[in-house]
Amino acid sequence: MSGQAKRLKSHAKLRENIQSWLIMLPGLILMTFFVWEPLFESIRMSLYKTRNVELVRFVGLDNFASVTGKDDFLQALQNTFSYTFWSLIIGFVLPILLAMLIGETVRGKSFFRTAVYLPNMLPGLAVIILWSAFFSGEKSGVLNILLGKLGVSPQSYLTHAEWVIPIIIVIATWKGAGATALIYMAGMAGISPELYEAAAIDGASVPKRIIHILLPAVRKLAGTLLILQIISVFQIMYEPMVLTKGGPDNASLSLMQLMWQYAFGGAMNYGKASAVAVIVTLILLVMTAVYSFFNRKESDWD
């Protein structure tokens, strides 16, 4: 290839690169404006003593020290892990079970699929308001009415420190489990029925087929969904804010909600709020890093 051709080619390559960047530019500008710059600003704020959005003076890690030294932070941290724990107990296996159940049905499969997906379409705020009436401790609370028919006397669910987090997870699971189940169903649909046939002919019982064929097939998918679930539950904020306002006695206060309280709950301390958010982000980064370390070979992304 002659030098000129080479030059022409690298010239064309450069032009192509510039064009490509120009195509990405609008998206990049929006990402900068809506995501990256505000995020950077938040990180900066976490290092300053603030008065509203004004940075008063640089204080290094003081905000972090002050925030983490408080009982409510430890409580919120513990609660957030508790949310994660309960969401794994209640919300992780359930979609797999739902997917297996629906997958076995012959008639009415698409009806079942549609029905379980429905709650996922509903606006989160409306869902929480709806369920708050469901768990009302008055005699008119729906759960109390239903349990009353079974002879259980009325309970006040949201005043029990031990119950609030599982209740919130139940609500979140009601909204989200169906959608997750459909993802699993798609994963299970990838398993060729012939595999089951072959196993059946070999005399493998139904439970054995589940353990040896079905579950291994969705293992990787489950791992991915697990980490996504943990990340999203870790950021839980709006549900406890509306349902219990973090109570009773901070028993349902989440880290993000603590962040919100610092920022908007009367304290107006954006510096400390940002410190909490940065801590949450760091925890999430660590969890993701651990996940991708164990999953390195399979992951498309690293």
Partner: protein, 476 residues
């Protein structure tokens, strides 16, 4: 524009400048045709408001259009909370006028988040009519004024008289036999629970509401003076004290309400202000700590007939008989211009919030009371935020005309204030909302965990709030 109008408005302006209250201006007259600006009005009645109320504000708007033809009014349904206000003030989108509670003005003023209206008030000649306590609340250290009192309230208790009757708690006149002390409150509540199965007391122990009501209980247990919840030490440092024997006793009382007497509503820790009024208004609870300014909530809004409603003084404790007095005020966006502040005062004058009584204001009050009457809300005297006797007396006369209640169900409340048998006390001086939040958490512990160590919980709340105080004022 006609010469006559110009003359009149000139005359009017002169009178205002000289500070003479102008008693006979009719609503139709132009006050200032040259004033040109736009003001956005927070707390405009939302679509959900009763028609009468919406009509009333439309009427204010019409009068404003006549008096200040070149001032444009933009209705805004904004209702203030500290958290939603700050970004707006910073971003320059705060409405020109809004209504914060009396706990917040000093915070907003110190952070330069509100506008100065001193000069406009001077122009209207009402600077002198302020009661000094309000001046203290609404001014900065240089005496510049940033707000106007909107209404005052005194905390007492709302009573569902029907439940009292059902429980047999009535005197020989058939009036509810109400609790005079906190101890009686617990006992009567128990009787009501036993006889009717309903909650004796609804206690909104969520967010800041619980702590707010608790401070009043704590005062009556003796958390004042030496044992005050908040005070400034000799060095000027703000200190909080939640671990005095008095405060612990008050918190034990909260625990007893739940575990010993069991008179609280089921979901106290998630009940808010609206929820508390709902339960009282629908007959699910017999008593609710609430003030004279919210009597239309359980009645007109939640359906309790006015004849089944009573307002009583805050029950006394062993160590005192205090009632929290407070209210909301009008404050203004930090970026208002001189013209806008004059227009805003003109607007407040039309609302009858300045101590002037002209025909249009009297008419407005009548319309207001008529509207209350029509929707089944009690028409009772308001506690005035102004120190102007003639003005206050004239207002009372109008109230009497529309009164739709048996005043025997209210007299003790108002008498306790006018006769001084109850001591009015304003909210804790600094960062009250944060203090309430801390105390609410302890209350939640007291009423959800029977064996909770309340002294320890109070000590933790104290440490946390002290750190907050150090952060926010002591270290400045």
């Amino acid at each position: 524009m006609s010469k006559v109008f110009k003359m009149v408005s000139l005359l009017l302006a002169l009178c205002m400048l000289s500070g003479i209250p102008f008693g006979f201006s009719a609503a139709e007259e132009v006050i200032d045709a040259d004033l040109t600006c736009t003001i956005t009005l927070g707390n405009w009645p939302p679509d959900t408001a009763p028609d009468a109320e919406k009509a009333l504000f439309e009427n204010y708007r019409a009068i404003m259009a006549k008096q200040y033809p070149n001032v444009t009014l933009v209705p805004d349904y904004y209702s203030y909370t500290l958290s939603n206000y700050v970004p707006m003030a910073k971003g320059g989108t705060a409405p020109s006028i809004f209504q914060p509670p009396f706990t917040d003005p000093q915070l907003l003023i110190s952070q330069h988040l509100v506008g100065d209206v001193t000069d406009a008030l001077e122009k209207f000649g009402v600077l002198e009519e302020f009661s000094p306590s309000y001046v203290e609340m609404l001014a900065d250290e240089n005496g510049r004024i940033y707000g106007l009192p909107r209404d005052g309230y005194v905390l007492g208790m709302h009573i569902n008289a029907a439940l009292f009757r059902e429980a047999g708690l009535v005197d020989e006149e058939g009036l509810p036999l109400y609790p005079k002390t906190l101890q009686e409150l617990a006992e009567y509540g128990q009787i009501i629970r036993e006889k009717t199965g309903k909650a004796g007391l609804v206690f909104p122990a969520s967010e800041t509401y619980g702590g707010w009501l608790f401070t009043n209980i704590a005062w009556n247990f003796g958390c004042v003076g030496e044992s005050a919840l908040e005070y400034q030490d000799e060095d000027g440092r703000w200190v909080c004290n939640f671990t005095s024997p008095e405060c612990i006793a008050a918190m034990e009382y909260m625990r007893d309400l739940r575990w010993k007497y069991d008179i609280l509503n089921a979901d106290a820790t998630t009940t808010d202000w609206a929820g508390a009024h709902s339960l009282l208004g629908t007959g699910e609870a017999a008593m609710n700590f609430a003030a004279d300014d919210s009597v239309d909530q359980p009645t007109a809004n939640k359906g309790l007939p006015v004849e089944d409603f009573a307002l009583i003084p805050f029950p006394a404790g062993d160590a005192g008989r205090y009632a929290l007095a407070g209210g909301t005020c009008y404050m203004f966006a930090p970026n208002i211009t001189a013209d806008q502040s004059v227009a805003l005062m003109g607007y407040l004058k039309i609302l009858g919030k300045l101590p002037f009584l002209d025909d249009s204001i009297i008419e407005g009050m009548r319309a207001d009371y008529q509207a209350k009457r029509d929707r089944g809300a009690p028409v009772i005297p308001a506690i005035s935020a102004w120190n102007d006797e003639a003005y206050n007396a004239a207002k009372q006369a109008i109230v009497d005309e529309f009164c739709n209640v048996d005043m025997r169900l209210y007299n003790d409340f108002f008498d306790s204030i006018s006769q001084g048998t109850i001591t009015l006390k304003s909210e804790e001086p600094v960062f009250a909302q944060q203090l309430y939040r801390e105390l609410t958490a302890v209350i939640q512990r007291a009423i959800t965990k029977e064996g909770a160590d309340l002294e320890k919980a109070l000590r933790k709340a104290e440490e946390s709030f002290q750190e907050y105080l150090d952060d926010e004022i002591n270290d400045y």
